[in-house]
């Protein structure tokens, strides 16, 4: 308990930055992932190919590499300067979006083909079919895997501790320099993570109940 109370400054900034990273990366990944998923089921072959390429390249690259590219490689390209926090958000968003896209696509696959055919029969366009008929049903079907993706994202934020983003992953190295017992520090960090994940799981159960598809 002392380890937590005496170093509350570290824990508060650490987990605040973790949550900021998680929130922004989560929102961007959800938007980008949904767009990529719709590209993968679009009728235009070039779009399908591009989305498949993006997913396979980014998802098959270790997260550490993706993040360190944005932290160390990107500044050398001489484009707009971004701080490390933004770099971490961009990297995490691009990486997580591939998992979101695959989750959404699996959801789209659960929607019976008849739904799309019926939508087309009453004269809806591809975009309308997708946004009005298919995606709402797809999202309902993929709540559990989608939350797994977000829980993974929450824990992935700690990779950013390697390059000047002072989030929860950096708490341990600070603590050890202050001479605190490493085990106690680690246990507190783990416990707070478990608590946050518990809140996420609670939201998942609520959403599942609310959006249950009657079959």
């Amino acid at each position: 308990m002392n380890t937590l109370l005496n170093n509350s400054d570290l824990f508060i900034t650490g987990f605040r930055n973790t949550l900021i990273l998680f929130f922004f990366a989560g929102v961007f990944a959800l938007i980008l992932g949904t767009i990529v998923a719709t590209l993968r089921v679009s009728p235009i072959p070039a779009m399908r190919a591009a989305a498949t390429l993006y997913i396979n390249v980014v998802r098959n690259t270790p997260l550490t590499l993706v993040l360190f590219f944005f932290a160390l490689g990107y500044p050398k390209l001489g484009l707009v300067e971004i701080d490390f926090m933004t770099a971490a958000t961009v990297g995490l968003s691009l990486y997580t979006a591939t998992y979101v896209a695959e989750a959404v696509r699996s959801g789209i696959n659960t929607v019976p083909v008849g739904q799309a055919e019926a939508a087309r029969a009453i004269g809806l366009t591809f975009t309308q079919t997708l946004t009005v008929v298919i995606l709402p049903q797809a999202f309902r079907a993929v709540i559990p895997p989608m939350f797994s993706v977000f829980i993974a994202l929450l824990k992935n934020t700690t990779v950013a501790a390697g390059f000047s983003v002072a989030e929860a992953g950096a708490i341990r190295s600070n603590l050890s320099e202050r001479g605190e017992p490493a085990m106690a520090g680690l246990l507190w960090v783990a416990l707070i993570f478990v608590l946050i994940v518990f809140i996420l799981s609670f939201a998942q159960r609520k959403l599942e109940k609310k959006w249950k598809v009657a079959r």
Binding site: F69, G73, F163, E177, R178, A182
Partner: protein, 299 residues
């Protein structure tokens, strides 16, 4: 549509850049020159050593070897040659000297590279018998482990590019970007006492040195002894400026309560002044600095 495809192409370019980066990182870490090898060691292996009342020494005896926690990424202090797997540096030789005094030759030593954040737990868990690796003696740490020594005194210093003329001491840090290891004491010191200085943190000092060379940061800060090691490795592009502005005393990390072994090592440091000087001159002393051995603090 066309714009769309080019965007994907640029992603491909980005991906290959990531690959290229990772490859060059692998190649670079070897770093041409290493600290000069010990040659003939300035100490001899003791015979029939016995230390009564030291649980650590009993463990060492029953294992038949010494397990020493060290650093492997600090040129001149504790450095592992990636090609040969050999360890070299000032801290390594101090560690070998202690092992020799305990009656164990170099082939009976097992080095365990342990990063700063895991040192206390490695000692308290008994993963290693003792730790020699830029380990600053602090009162907080003394609550968890014991220290023999100090065997070296240094302080926080600054490493800059050779052609840098704007930073000459810690007084010139205002508005500059300073890099050190994540959460390390030097970076916490900068944040607390130099509020107008920007800070950047990487996992290791080598990454900071890379960022310094590429111009992402203006200076690297940590113990001057570590910085001298880097400056000695690349004297054409890096230099150490100013005087140390804190005091760090390096000690040998021991299991808490092993007073017998602590006094044994302290006596070795006190009696072995000439050995200490030879070790220093053949390692860190190569940078041209002259230092005398600090007095042991037998608390």
């Amino acid at each position: 549509m066309k714009a769309f495809i080019t965007r994907r192409k640029s992603l491909l370019v980005a991906a290959s850049a990531v690959l290229a980066l990772s490859l060059s990182a692998c190649g670079g870490s070897g770093g041409g020159s290493t600290a000069p090898s010990s040659g003939s060691a300035p100490f001899t292996v003791a015979q029939n050593v016995s230390i009564t009342g030291s649980p650590t020494f009993d463990t060492i005896k029953s294992n038949g070897k010494v397990r020493i926690g060290v650093k492997q990424d600090q040129p001149g202090l504790g450095f592992k040659d990636a090609a040969t797997g050999e360890y070299s540096g000032f801290d390594i030789q101090i560690a070998q000297w202690i092992a020799a005094s305990l009656g164990f030759s170099q082939d009976k030593i097992e080095y365990k590279p342990i990063p700063s954040a895991n040192r206390e737990s490695a000692i308290t868990n008994g993963d290693i018998d003792y730790y020699v690796g830029t380990y600053s003696i602090t009162d907080k740490r003394k609550q968890l482990i014991d220290f023999a020594g100090p065997y070296f005194v240094t302080g926080q210093g600054l490493l800059v590019k050779k052609d840098n003329t704007s930073i000459n001491s810690e007084k010139d840090l205002s508005g500059k970007n300073v890099c050190s290891a994540t959460g390390s004491t030097p970076i916490q010191n900068i944040k607390a006492n130099f509020p107008s200085t920007k800070t950047t943190e990487f996992d290791t000092y080598s990454q900071c040195v890379e960022a310094l060379k590429s111009g992402q940061v203006d200076a690297v800060t940590t113990d001057q002894a570590i910085l001298l090691g880097y400056a000695a490795q690349e004297p054409d592009s890096l230099k150490v400026v100013g005087q140390p502005f804190t005091v760090e005393k390096y000690g040998v990390g021991l299991k808490k309560g092993d007073t017998a072994l602590r006094q044994f090592i302290n006596k070795m440091f006190t009696d072995g002044g000439s050995t200490w000087q030879k070790i220093y001159d053949s390692t860190l002393g190569q940078s041209g600095t002259k230092v005398t051995q600090p007095a042991v603090d037998n608390y």
